[in-house]
Symmetry: C2
Subunit: 312 residues, 2 copies
């Protein structure tokens, strides 16, 4: 089943202890769609400027990602500059230029309308909601957000949450959104805002999924209320953590969309695939590792994740 994703397609300048890259292809929708493309068909909605050319387009084409929903306008693409020099777990933002993104009005191509899965990457909740409203019949909607929207655009975000099945955020964001430092209590508070599933990403420690009990489908209602935790792979070298969370979301949602039924077992495997894709994303700068990845490498790492956590 196909996924439509709306989010940023951008250029990033990144500095980490491993080096520096200028204006490499980035953005949440880029990482998400490259990652999800290993599992299912992906369709992107975004806006780019004149600096987005054939070379960038080719990255999407190589993974058979549908880019008809990427609008090209006059001006420059979204640009982010950041570093991870003191702490690989947290980016320090040096510069953000919205550019063409400032006037972004998401339009959904006719060919995207039969997508059964919708992912609302981290953008203005007003835009997330507009896309959600234009695709009322999707089977599953997941989304991401960040501290800025949680703190300064809360009412708009709360509206989006009402229409989400799955929210993927990190520890700090979950605690901030709930106003509660205990993760279990915070999860319960967030689940009361709309989503039936909350995936909290812990960076190098993996991710935990919390369930409201509404579960995915009537068939599995109540089947799994206790949380599920996927590990992260202890990495010899984290070259660049940019996009790891979006790559997690892509692996997670891509695998779910590739499955016929949304069972708790499929969900657990989706958490593992998410963590697998997040680990690959960190191994090289920007999207470099995702571009050269093979499905065999993904499945081999899945087995490694199983060995990392399973008793037998």
């Amino acid at each position: 089943m196909a996924i439509t994703v709306v989010g940023s397609v951008a250029f990033d300048s990144i500095e980490t202890p491993a080096g520096r890259r200028e204006r490499c292809l980035g953005g949440a929708a880029t990482y998400f769609s490259l990652s999800a493309s290993f599992f299912t068909d992906v369709r992107v909605i975004a806006v780019v400027g004149e600096d987005f050319g054939r070379r960038q387009e080719a990255v999407f084409q190589a993974r058979n990602i549908d880019t008809r929903g990427i609008e090209h306008t006059a001006g420059k693409s979204f640009f982010w500059e950041g570093s991870y020099l003191e702490n690989l777990n947290e980016a320090k933002t040096h510069n953000t230029e919205l550019n063409v993104f400032a006037a972004f009005e998401p339009k959904i191509p006719e060919a995207y309308r039969d997508s059964e899965f919708l992912f609302l990457a981290n953008i203005d909740p007003v835009l997330q909601r507009r896309v959600r409203e234009q695709m009322p019949d999707v089977k599953l909607v997941a989304g991401d957000t960040m501290n800025y929207w949680i703190n300064d655009h809360r009412p708009a975000l709360l509206e989006v949450l009402k229409g989400l099945d799955v929210l993927l955020i990190n520890d700090t964001e979950a605690r901030m959104l709930a106003g509660n430092n205990n993760l279990v209590q915070a999860a319960r508070a967030v689940l009361a805002l709309g989503p039936h599933t909350l995936v909290v990403k812990h960076g190098e420690y993996g991710a935990t999924a919390f369930f409201s009990g509404k579960s995915f489908t009537p068939k599995t209602e109540g089947a799994q209320h206790h949380p599920f935790r996927a590990p992260a792979l202890p990495l010899e070298e984290v070259v660049d953590p940019t996009g790891a969370g979006d790559s997690f979301a892509g692996g997670f949602f891509g695998y779910l969309a590739s499955q016929g039924e949304l069972t708790p077992a499929a969900f657990r495997r989706a958490m593992f695939y998410g963590s697998v894709m997040g680990s690959f994303a960190c191994e090289r700068f920007g999207t470099e590792r995702l571009q050269e990845l093979t499905r065999k490498e993904i499945d081999d790492r899945f087995i490694l994740f199983r060995e990392l956590t399973h008793l037998d």
Copy 2:
């Protein structure tokens, strides 16, 4: 097989968001031995003052812990006062009084000498080494340490590490000991100092074991080189994290000692039992939860930990 443990038996005054307790029974050897006593015979070596009376002794007796190695001397027992008001993951120490511990000379009772397992809880590495040297024939030696010994008593600590099979420390301590912020690289550096296994505790995120490849026994040599990660249980309320790490060590080492063979499979289960015991310790103040615990509760939670992490 029996475990001998050397470490502190102390009184703690603790403040957490859940409340405050004055001078409750504590100390690394106390938490460790209560926790390990659910799995195997435990023998304690420590020193206490005149404030350690029948009530404290009864806590050990109730769990059939051998206390003949607890020396009673004039003066007051080791005392620690701390709080976790801002951060439940890190204690803020307000007061430490070594008292009778300042002149502690560990003596090993004759009845302890056939112990096949030895645990060196977090005390002065000079004392750890003296105990280690008096028990040269044990089958497996594990130990703990802390930032103070790593930074200010490094040469003595390095001597201890040479005689350890398993070192259990937290993330910060592992990075500090190795002088390397990458956990995988830090683990390799620590394993080069002596222990064949390093267990790094991540607090609310669980624990990861790293192996040098020397493994436990010649039989399993090279059988398991990749790391193993045990989860922690997301807790509704962390009442008091004091002793969680020592309780982890007790469950981990206690389970290992209860097993006939030190196989990789036994080791993985030991990691889970460690995490299980750490989670119980946090549920009430001091050793309260460990005192009232049953083996059935432990095994039920073990099953919960499996469900928390296993795909099928």
